[in-house]
């Protein structure tokens, strides 16, 4: 199982040891997608990969230590009906998340998405929605 989460570390918590401790304790894998650090907090977006119980334990431990956790079910919503396969988003995507099939229809590989929102902002028919 894999669960996408945003971990918010208040500045008084040092994020790195806390995260690695929890990973060690639960045996879960944590794939970091994006990190954002500013003066008030550090935020990490990533996927927790483990069994359901282990994911729960991972979340429980971090919560107890004061980390704010937001669960994300789907962050990038795509409407196939709205999309006209114009291909514009493909060259704007900084990763390999948006590609064209041989027949020039849009191909989504959202595992590669880093949530930069370039497609959300620029799609002419607004086929993408970002859900924070």
């Amino acid at each position: 199982m894999s669960k996408r989460v945003i971990l918010q570390f208040p500045m008084n918590l040092s994020k790195d040891p806390l995260l690695s401790e929890t990973i060690l304790k639960t045996g879960a894998t944590f794939n970091i997608i994006k990190t954002e650090i500013n003066s008030t907090k550090a935020e990490i977006l990533g996927d927790v990969i483990a069994s359901d119980e282990k994911i729960e334990e991972f979340i429980r431990i971090l919560k107890r230590r004061g980390v704010i956790i937001k669960m994300i079910d789907s962050v990038l919503l795509f409407s196939r009906n709205a999309c006209v396969d114009c291909g514009l988003c493909v060259s704007l995507c900084p990763t390999q998340a948006l590609l064209l099939n041989k027949d020039f229809t849009l191909k989504l590989e959202l595992d590669n998405c880093i949530l930069c929102q370039k497609c959300v902002v620029n799609c002419p028919v607004r086929a993408f929605k970002y859900q924070a």
Partner: protein, 508 residues
């Protein structure tokens, strides 16, 4: 040799042989032109492109008591419409933007809402006359309630160029966002599928040609605006009944930070009357080359970075100056294919007959640019205070104060640009006990040249959030300085309009 009436007879009997442009190319490649010309009656071509020049004429019927829009104000869903027609007619253009939502909702969105059978709010203010006393109306209407809804696209089928951006900032254009440093290329048109690639000399396409326009049957009513056949940029003016259109092929669009528009699907049947026509429909992407323009130069004479074929663009990656650029079409190839397929099946079923052109389109014309005077920076710059890197801070500070200037430009003894220094840099330098200009000046300065247009420079300054720029002449010597403040005054309210649209978008 065949004639259009002969082909129409075959279509009526369900005997016409119709191929999509792609299948025709295969047939010619495999069996030769002669055989293809004999066997095939019609080739269908298609394109699904942005059609920014389009709009629709709408007639609402008379109110009771009557109202006269003409001379007043008309809007649909808060998108202003033209109020210079008669009593209850209006024209709505797809690039007009909503007064409340800005470019997120424009004329194209109104047209798509109508086609999707949604209710749209009509509001009009009139001055009132004896015969037309009503002065205000606000009512919800649907496409069904209109007497006529005639879509007109004065320029279509013409797009065939690509663009990229060599600058270090993202540019928002009529073809979409261009990332910095050649990161992407966006190309318009779809190459070998498009009508004008298959009939480049207008052998069969002319006034009266019946076409597939966004699901309805429409017509070519003349040459398009900007018709430039000599340069391979011929264009068509088309019309069709909005009431019969399908929003699968008519989609409202917003080009972020540029404006609202519409995607429009057009299919044109090409009757294969003889071998020459058959041969032209065999054209392949490899043989259709288009220019890639650098849009970072915002002058009409944009430099061409490269000439390239659609075949290469469609591979998805192109090398420019050692960097690999990702390519995006903006014209939907899958929808062009659907249009060709749908048109083919309509003809095969006898539901779509060919129109015989009553007049040919010009193959001679070329395009003029707008007659106006370019406002060049050279005429609107000021005299700069020049200094050298070795000059003393104190001396220059005194001079700036006495002349009440905020900036000085640092040059060498031949007036080549070295750097710039502002009153803030000076103050900081003096507070930190610096003594020479070279210790506090900023290098890496963005510049303008005397021949550039003031609008271009004002945008560049806004983009980079800088308030002044040195101006260089053709020999790269510093000859002046411009400030955003002065340029903005010069450009007046037009500048303000652009900014307010952008702000609206960013707030959303």
């Amino acid at each position: 040799m065949k004639t259009i009436p002969e082909i129409n007879e075959k279509i009526k009997k369900g005997e016409a042989v119709v191929l999509t442009a792609e299948k025709m190319k295969e047939l010619v490649a495999n069996d030769g032109v002669e055989k293809a010309a004999k066997e095939v009656d019609v080739v269908t071509t298609g394109i699904f492109n942005l059609a920014c020049s389009s709009g629709a004429f709408l007639n609402f019927g008379h109110s009771d008591p009557p109202i006269k829009f003409g001379g007043g104000e008309v809007s649909l869903n808060d998108v202003p419409c033209y109020a210079g027609l008669d009593a209850v007619d209006t024209y709505i253009g797809v690039t007009q933007v909503s007064r409340s939502l800005g470019m997120e909702y424009g004329g194209g969105h109104v047209l798509q809402d109508l086609v999707d059978k949604k209710a749209v709010t009509l509001e009009a203010h009139a001055y009132g006359t004896d015969s037309h006393p009503k002065t205000h109306i606000k009512t919800d209407i649907t496409l069904q309630d209109l007497n006529q809804a005639i879509m007109v696209c004065p320029r279509s089928g013409h797009q065939r160029y690509a663009c990229t951006n060599s600058s270090d900032a993202t540019l928002y254009t009529h073809l979409g966002a261009l990332l910095p440093n050649y990161e992407n290329i966006i190309y318009s048109g779809n190459g070998e599928l498009s009508p004008l690639a298959n009939d480049p000399d207008f052998d069969t396409i002319g006034i009266g040609t019946r076409i597939f326009l966004a699901g309805a049957q429409g017509y070519i009513i003349g040459e398009g605006t900007f018709h430039d056949p000599k340069d391979g940029m011929g264009s068509l003016m088309v019309k069709g009944d909005l009431k019969k259109m399908n929003s699968k092929y008519l989609r409202a669009a917003t080009l972020t930070n540029y404006g609202s528009s519409i995607f429009l699907g057009i299919g044109i049947p090409i009757p294969i009357l003889n071998e020459q026509i058959a041969k032209k429909t065999a054209i392949r992407d490899e043989k259709i080359t288009i220019p890639i323009y650098d849009f970072s130069v915002s002058s009409r004479s944009r430099p061409i970075v490269k000439e390239i074929s659609y075949a290469e663009l469609k591979k998805g990656k192109v090398a420019i100056d050692g960097t690999t650029s990702k390519c995006s079409p903006i014209s939907s190839i899958p929808l062009a294919r659907e249009i060709m397929g749908e048109l083919k099946s309509l003809i095969e079923k006898g539901e779509f007959l060919l129109g015989e052109p009553i007049e040919r389109l010009s193959t001679e014309k070329s395009v003029r640019t707008m007659k106006h005077e370019i406002i060049r920076v050279g005429k609107h710059m000021e005299k700069p205070l020049l200094c050298e890197a070795t000059d003393s801070l104190k001396v220059i500070a005194k001079e700036m104060i006495s002349k009440s200037l905020n900036n000085a430009i640092v040059v060498d003894n031949e007036d080549n640009l070295i750097g710039m220094i502002s009153s803030l840099d000076l103050t900081k330098g003096l507070l930190n006990d610096k003594s020479k200009i070279s210790e506090v000046m900023r290098t890496n300065i963005l510049t303008a040249t005397t021949t550039e247009a003031v609008e271009t420079i004002a945008r560049r300054m806004t983009h980079h959030q800088i308030s002044t720029m040195p101006v260089l002449d053709e020999q790269n010597k510093v000859v002046g300085i411009v400030s955003l403040e002065n340029l903005s005054k010069l450009l007046g309210r037009h500048k303000g309009l652009g900014i307010s649209l952008q702000a609206k978008f960013e707030r959303r």
